[in-house]
């Protein structure tokens, strides 16, 4: 720790040294930042028309699945990634059973609304009425999973959460109430009509995508506010060093439960939207790979960074959908999706271990952990 005698005259800092794109963004006045965000939002709303762009349009849109449906798929994957990012990226709790919350959101909706449900009594609930009840159930499930696992760390927590999702799947598969593979039919769509026709129909997924986008935007603002509050500060401290956080006076159990239930709520939102769009759900939707896939998306995009989670969530949905209908030697490329994901994830972990859009703090924490593993 010797004092540097004379600091060499600093050359003009490069764009990269000034924090690159994000550094630039952070230095802009508020109105510029809002304008940029608004522009992104508008572009996102126009995505269903991407196919109309000359030349590149057809390259972007999907072939084996209609484009609006692919966009809707992306929207709920993005929601799930945003929610899981709260648990894994912010609070640092490795949750491998995240699909469980998606399932509870979807099943909660179906149980209350579908004519196949044991709860159905000649009218059934509307989708909008069922949504808050389903979401309350998911948050409760988040607390129920969170509470007994509070003392577990890292790998142990991962295994228990994985078990949690499997329990939900197995219950859904093997009990008459949850109807297993037969599933629930006629789950109602979201409300609203225009010109005498319902907005949310069965032929065009575009309105569902827009609804998904609105929910995503609300979630982004909600999570951003939480992140900047005392809650976010507490999550950050827990993630960086749980014991140190406790020494500072952070109630680690309380804030870990917060992370679980906020994450569960967002996952549940994905499930409620999913059930409302599909109109049908059964137990085969909620397989374990789903959790792994979303986690891969978060890690790939940049754990701990919302922009990263959004990008990662969109990619894990977009890439396989884009591959659908393209065949290679007689096999649809879609069938190779998991193999390709494996390859892509390995490549990213080698080239850019902090993810495509990394969180700066996360990068610092990773470095610090490396030091700990290999001191000096």
């Amino acid at each position: 720790m010797s004092d540097t005698a004379v600091a060499p005259a600093k050359e003009k800092a490069t764009f990269r040294e000034n924090g690159g794109v994000r550094g630039w963004f952070g230095r802009q006045p508020a109105w510029v930042r809002w304008a940029v965000m608004l522009l992104f939002a508008v572009l996102a709303f126009l995505l269903p028309y991407a196919g109309d762009i000359p030349v590149i349009g057809p390259q972007i849109t999907t072939e084996g699945i209609d484009w609006p449906s692919a966009l809707f798929n992306m929207s709920y994957y993005v929601l799930l990634a945003l929610g899981l990012n709260v648990v894994v990226g912010y609070a640092g709790l490795l949750d491998l059973g995240y699909v469980g919350f998606f399932a509870i959101g979807a099943y909660g909706t179906a149980l209350l609304t579908s004519p196949d449900s044991v709860l159905y009594s000649h009218t059934g609930w509307a989708w909008l009425g069922a949504a808050p009840v389903a979401l309350a159930a998911t948050m409760l499930a988040g607390l129920i999973l969170g509470y007994p696992t509070l003392r577990l760390r890292g790998d142990y927590l991962a295994i228990v959460t994985l078990g949690f999702a499997e329990i939900i799947r197995i219950v859904a598969t093997n009990t008459t109430t949850f109807r297993g593979d037969r599933g629930f039919t006629n789950v109602p769509h979201p409300p609203g009509s225009s010109g005498g026709k319902p907005i949310f129909g069965v032929t065009d997924a575009t309105p569902y995508f827009w609804l998904g986008l609105v929910v995503i935007i609300l979630v982004i603002f909600g999570v951003r506010n939480l992140d900047r509050s005392r809650v976010g500060r507490s999550w950050l401290a827990i993630r960086e060093d749980e014991e140190a956080a406790e020494i500072m006076g952070v109630r680690t159990t309380k804030f870990k439960l917060w992370a679980f239930s906020v994450g569960a709520f967002i996952g549940g939102l994905g499930g409620v939207l999913f059930a409302g769009e599909q109109g049908f759900i059964n137990s085969s939707t909620f397989v374990l790979q789903f959790s792994i896939l979303v986690l891969a998306g978060v890690v790939m995009g940049g754990s701990g960074n919302m922009a990263g989670a959004i990008l990662g969530g969109a990619l894990i949905s977009y890439i396989p959908d884009r591959l659908r209908g393209i065949s290679l030697g007689g096999t649809d490329l879609y069938e190779y999706r998991f193999a390709m994901f494996g390859a892509v994830i390995i490549a990213i972990m080698i080239v850019r271990p902090q993810g495509l859009i990394p969180s700066r703090r996360r990068a610092m924490e990773l470095k610090d952990r490396e030091k700990e593993v290999a001191p000096l």
């Binding site: 401290a237 140190a244 020494i247 006076g249 996360r362 610090d368």
Partner: protein
């Protein structure tokens, strides 16, 4: 007495780390706790901070029983710890780390006052204010951890091996600062493997061996105790 541990036992699962230890720290004192690696020094600190429940005994702080009190409430009461090793938040800036130290406090003006005090004690922290904790050198991280512990305005400051891994010159410096903090009115319980320094600066000291207190006395007494000399002070 500001702190009284009476017959405290603590176990990690089946590993019994503390076997009924008793010690006291009086208002205004520097008390040192020395012992070999694995003796249970950090465990004692954890028990006082409330990070681990004790299986037996009682802890009294400032006249009140805190044996079963939640860790965050102990911070509010005035117990603060600078943990062993890399206890800082690597992704937070120096400033943010210090602000974390004031996590339980609300009065902005007082927090700012204490920030200035910490920057006064550790001018280097002021220079590094915006730098990530993880980019600091070992010595700087240690200073940051001590400074952060001061940010809760503690009555009792627990320091777990503040000289660990530091160069000799820095060791002197950190012990000087510890004495200065004490003279400004903060009571200190100091855990050290560097027995020479700890004993010469402390008013009183305890020697911990495999979870039991085996010796107690003033710093000077223990410094000249042949057994202590033999085991902890090396060949002079």
């Amino acid at each position: 007495m500001l702190l009284e541990l009476d017959n405290i036992s603590l176990a990690y699962g089946r590993i019994q780390a503390l076997h009924g230890i008793s010690l006291t720290v009086g208002q205004g004192e520097i008390v040192a706790l020395i012992g070999a690696n694995g003796a249970g020094k950090s465990t004692t600190m954890r028990a006082i901070s409330g990070l681990r429940p004790v299986s037996q005994g009682s802890i009294k702080f400032d006249g009140k029983d805190i044996t079963r009190l939640r860790a965050d409430l102990r911070v509010v009461r005035g117990v603060s710890q600078s943990p062993e090793g890399r206890g800082i938040f690597p992704g937070m800036s120096v400033r943010e780390n210090l602000e974390m130290g004031a996590y339980t406090r609300r009065v902005r003006a007082e927090i700012d006052e204490d920030l200035e005090r910490v920057f006064g004690l550790f001018p280097r922290m002021k220079e590094r204010e915006k730098q990530s904790g993880g980019t600091l050198s070992g010595g700087e991280q240690q200073m940051l951890a001590v400074g952060r512990a001061l940010m809760s305005r503690p009555k009792l400051l627990l320091l777990d091996e503040p000289s660990m891994g530091l160069a000799p010159m820095l060791i002197q410096q950190i012990f000087d600062i510890i004495v200065e903090i004490n003279q400004q009115g903060t009571t200190i319980l100091l855990v050290e493997q560097n027995a020479q320094q700890a004993l010469s600066r402390a008013h009183r000291a305890y020697v911990l061996e495999t979870g039991r207190i085996v010796k107690a006395g003033t710093g000077a007494e223990l410094l000249h105790d042949p057994a202590v000399k033999d085991a902890y002070l090396g060949v002079a």
